[in-house]
Amino acid sequence: MSPFEQQAFQTIACNVVDLIPGLKPEQISIDGKLSDYGCNSIDRSDIVWKTLDDLSLDIPIVEFAQVSDIRSLTELMVRHLKEK
């Protein structure tokens, strides 16, 4: 993982763990989906907004159309971290 990938993925994982009781960061896989970890639709929104906030990113919402799992979410964040 590149440093940007690591930063984005770890931020997402921490926010999942903060929200869902009983999970540990090491249980979150980049190949999983947020719903695999018990996140409902509101939790998913919360995690994305919190992550954007933590990474000081402002990403137009239409760009999330292609996001289907944690990997594609991480990749989107990485692309914008690189542009910063």
Partner: protein
């Protein structure tokens, strides 16, 4: 001119409903998810109800209450995502059956759950222009629903009915702050109704757009209104309420953005204080599409503490997506004005359906806006669902050569 705003407000939310726990159990879905949805009941339409009957059933008590002043209604705007004809508006039927003056414009507007607020802003401009002093404008947000088991957890929070909003220069319900608004709109495919029998929804995208628009509409409001402060400028908040859980998530997000050192306790207490009163009716009815914000406003007025004047922040969102945050003042006349329509009493008197009755009725809902050439409705089929105590109801009787025939029952 300085009291322009909502003069009268009434809600029609059907005469039948089902408890959300019963609905989820009947579908074999997890009843524990109620905590997330935060919904108690949903209103259900009967086979003789369509967007026209909902609109007339919501507006008729207002027309009766204002008597001769109905002659001053110069415009009827119907907001709906449940149109029944490409050309002929719902408003033409509604105008006829409310017996309104021929000296009155009527038209229909559409932008998912936002259009009623867009219509309201255009109407305010007309009233403020002074081009026709004393004019009144009737806006009715009316819809039916097309949900069934395909909607899964969205089914319990989908409502049924209409909100009728009379605008004029004697704002008893909500005096609207002139020029105080914030807008945020862009194209997105988060939900749509491509045919008269099916909705498509991308839940994640829609929630995301809703939350995005709330923050950005409020920021725009802040840019336009000097000194606007999310925590202190508004004594109460009313929002488009697809389900109460989403309102809570949106509040959590905007509080974190707008309020320094905002902890969970402050967010929770503020939510209960400023949004709690607006959620009683939405939790009993479900999402009323573009009428949903006005159902929340009615709930806030009926359930807030005290009668003192209070500034309210209002947020409207319609998928696709267009959104707006605006504000106004409710005062001592607001609750008294709503009281004559007894919204709480009529919700209470709805017939309670069991799951098998409910499931059987859904197929009728799916037919409500199909443009049939001919169709007969057998009113007797619905006799068992009529509440023992009810006012006269406006009902669809038949469709002949695409023309809809209605009667009072």
């Amino acid at each position: 001119m300085n009291k322009i705003g909502i003069e009268k407000l009434n809600i029609y939310a059907g005469i039948a409903s089902i408890g959300v726990a019963e609905l989820l159990a009947g579908r074999g879905l997890e009843v524990e998810r109620i905590d997330n949805i935060q919904q108690d009941r949903r209103s259900v339409g009967l086979g003789f109800e369509d967007p026209v009957t909902n609109a007339v059933n919501a507006a008729k008590p207002i027309i009766d209450a204002i008597g001769d002043a109905a002659e001053q209604i110069e415009m009827v705007i119907i907001s709906s995502e449940s149109g029944i004809d490409y050309s002929k508006s719902l408003a033409s039927y509604v105008h006829k059956h409310l017996n309104l003056s021929t000296k009155c414009r009527f038209l229909e507007v559409k932008q998912a759950c936002y259009a009623a607020t867009g219509a309201l802003q255009m109407a305010l401009g007309y009233l403020y222009s002074g081009m026709s002093p004393g004019a009144k404008i009737l806006i009715i947000a009316t819809d039916i629903t097309l949900v069934d088991e395909r909607a899964e957890y969205a089914e319990p929070s989908t409502g049924f009915g209409a909100a009728a909003i009379l605008l004029g220069e004697n704002a008893e319900i909500l005096q609207i702050d002139k020029g105080a608004f914030g807008i945020h709109s862009y194209e997105i495919m988060d939900s749509a109704r491509p045919t008269s029998a099916a909705d498509i929804v991308d839940v994640d995208k829609s929630l995301f757009a809703f939350l995005d628009c709330y923050s950005n509409s409020f920021s725009h409001y802040q840019n336009r209104v000097e000194g606007a402060d999310f925590l202190n400028s508004f004594g109460g908040l009313a929002m488009h309420t697809p389900f109460a859980g989403l309102v809570k998530a949106a509040h959590r997000k905007i509080m974190r953005e707008q309020v320094d050192q905002c902890g969970a306790e402050l967010i929770e207490a503020d939510f209960e204080r400023r949004l709690g009163p607006s959620l009683y009716y939405p939790k009993q009815v479900g999402n009323l599409c573009s009428g949903s914000l006005y159902l929340a406003l009615a709930s806030m007025i009926d359930h807030r503490k005290g009668e003192e004047a209070m500034r309210v922040g209002l947020f409207s969102y319609g998928s696709g997506c267009s959104s707006e945050f605006y504000s106004g003042i409710v005062n001592g006349t607001s609750r008294a004005s709503l009281k004559e329509f007894d919204i709480a009493g009529r919700l209470e008197k709805r017939t309670s359906l069991d799951f098998s009755q409910y499931d059987a009725l859904l197929k009728d809902n799916l037919q409500a806006i199909i443009p049939f050439e001919n169709r007969e409705i057998c009113l007797q089929d619905y006799e068992t669902y009529m509440p023992p105590e009810r006012p006269p109801l406006f009902a669809l009787r038949k469709i002949s050569d695409y023309y809809r025939h209605y009667e009072w029952i």
